[in-house]
Assembly symmetry: C2
Homo-oligomer: 191 residues x 2
């Protein structure tokens, strides 16, 4: 709790860092601008120089979250070439992120798309990775034909839903393989 002063210009970064900590440790309900200011050793009005209001802070947290997912997606995909392996890698990354940052995930999806341009752009960057995985898979003949962006949305939806259920505790993480399997092979029996 012994924080140094922040009179040297990195208050914005310090606020974001502390906000993420609070989100991870205590949830969105405990996120207060005044508490963050206190923790960071600054007056309660100071953060408003860097974040117009609380929503602007939440938006910045969402952007950081999507950017982190994009980076982890990219790293996970780089290690594999086969579509199935890549899909599994994406799923693992997303599920881990959701499990470790359930409150941040809620912040990321809690805002209506288009409300903030920076968030929208970060979402598109993150979703671009699954899209290219689909495209590559189609070129290898391992994925059905169709608009890769739309197929990518179906993939994201399945991952997002699984992550949500696991983060809420309604499902266990060991459902990952099964869900990915059902998505890859379908629910209908092969003739």
């Amino acid at each position: 709790m012994s924080h140094p002063r922040y009179h040297h210009g990195d208050l914005r970064a310090a606020v974001l860092r502390r906000a993420e900590e609070i989100l991870r440790e205590s949830g969105a309900g405990s996120l207060s601008l005044r508490q963050i200011a206190r923790d960071v050793g600054v007056s309660h009005g100071a953060p408003s120089r860097h974040f117009r209001d609380k929503q602007a802070l939440l938006d910045a947290l969402a952007v950081a979250g999507f950017d982190r997912i994009e980076a982890e997606f990219a790293a996970a995909v780089a290690g594999e070439t086969a579509f199935d392996a890549r899909l599994h890698a994406l799923a693992r990354v997303y599920l881990r992120f959701a499990t470790e940052n359930p409150a941040l995930l809620a912040v990321m999806y809690g805002r209506k798309h288009g409300a903030d341009a920076e968030v929208g752009a970060a979402v598109l960057r993150a979703f671009e990775v699954p899209r290219t995985v689909i495209v590559d898979g189609q070129e290898r003949g391992e994925v059905v034909p169709g608009d890769p962006r739309r197929i990518g949305m179906a993939v994201i939806a399945a991952l997002q839903g699984l992550a949500n259920l696991v983060a809420s505790g309604f499902a266990a993480g060991d459902l990952l393989d099964e869900t990915v399997g059902h998505l890859t092979h379908g629910l209908r029996p092969r003739p």
Copy 2:
């Protein structure tokens, strides 16, 4: 805004009703016990007789939400017999609910499972419908074999994810058919 008095025992129901309205019209950020009390024409301390604290109100809203989903699930399934038709019906119902009540959905999945026994029970009741749909589908040879509860979770995950993306505006509702199709037939090309 001219509300009658609520000295006759239905304050609990009146608070719940008004809370759902606010959730639908203004989102979770505008949900305040004091505002509800004002709208309902009662002193700000009165709701605490029926809801220990704000979380208890959110839990009650979640229970009501899951119960409504269960009823709509049951009605949707009753009209169809083939697995594909039933799956589509479930998806339509869930997506409509999510689109019309995005803030309520966030409340319903915002709480850790097991934190409130009544919410947990309501979740199980709602998820029971997809489970029986899977069981029936397996008996008809229209669904791959496997633990119906686990397959049901994969289905719920896909619906939940799609609903989430649509509610946030990241995807459009016309992805429904495609997502259900990918789940039914799989992403891998049929040989």
